[in-house]
Symmetry: C2
Subunit: 165 residues, 2 copies
DNA sequence: TATTGTTATACTCTATAACTATA
DNA sequence: TATAGTTATAGAGTATAACAATA
């Protein structure tokens, strides 16, 4: 695999098809772990620590009521837990349970492994270039829309000892 | 925008975030045209001509019963029509209505325009390289799984005069 | 008043299983 | 028997609107 010519493939077509492929990988891996793609996305977002509902709505681009349902179902399945936010009694933080963390890690690794496999044939220089170009596109979008595709920044001093329970 | 360094972004992370971005664009554009993303995807697949239900299940990676519902709703909204396949009386072909074709074109162009905007800052060489690399990844997936991301090939002689109705 | 989150409601999307009709 | 598609059913995902509690 050398990535030479693009046989009649436009840039936008390429991006759309690539997105479908990644989505398919996500769906396949989720299913292997008995998760829906949305649950897998939620879990992967939480691996670095708890996030509040508001932060999650921004990260997932969902209405808050949609998120309530998503978290409800994940909580019912024992994947996540709601913990009260000590600093704001209206708010809560969503954190992974032990089981949730384990599944999240496996799902994340599974997706990474499959994508790595697909990109395995690319020369290192092309891999770097691809990463860089995608980074530039993401940055352009972030500058344009204010969207962030990583974890939302905590908006205040980080909770201390909130996990006490 | 010059696409220089990738600040701590791995290749797989980059691909996942790019996929989310494209999906978001798809969702935004769909909504502008009062479509669900799934309906938009269906419509865009049909712009080059009618496809049978079986071909659509392969192209969309859906169970046939899921597709029945999707087509039902699109048909109820006047976007597509089922036409009998003259060569196989079990089968039917899904085609765009006039209204459906118009919306499909606008949605497709809308997605393309937004993605073009995001990539507008990239030098031509990087654009070409991105397209080529993505093409290679898609080819790798196709070789690995047999998946096809373009229109399904018609499996027999193309219908002649099927639209007669 | 504004923000955080939930509830109520109505659709859409999806899969599994069972079915009909045709090949 | 196998294939093309539908129906029945159940659950998940999503949005809008109205609400409660807290800031």
């Amino acid at each position: 695999m050398v990535a030479t010519e693009a046989p009649g493939l436009s840039l936008t077509e390429a991006l759309v098809r690539l997105a479908h492929l990644v989505q398919q990988v996500y769906g396949d891996v989720s299913r292997e772990h008995d998760l829906t793609p949305q649950q897998a996305q939620l879990l992967c977002l939480l691996v670095d620590g708890p996030i509040g509902m508001s932060g999650l709505t921004r990260a997932l681009h969902l209405e808050k009521s949609s998120l309530t349902g998503l978290v409800d179902r994940a909580e019912k399945r024992g994947l996540v837990a709601r913990v009260r936010d000590a600093r704001d009694r209206r708010a809560c933080l969503i954190e992974l349970t032990g089981a949730g963390a384990e599944i999240a890690t496996r799902a994340h690794d599974g997706v990474a492994a499959r994508l790595e496999t697909l990109a395995a044939g690319l020369p290192a220089r092309q891999r770097e270039l691809l990463t860089g170009v995608v980074g530039a596109i993401l940055a352009e979008d972030a500058a344009r829309t204010g969207r962030t595709w990583s974890r939302p920044e905590p908006e205040g001093p980080v909770a201390a000892g909130v996990n006490g329970r």
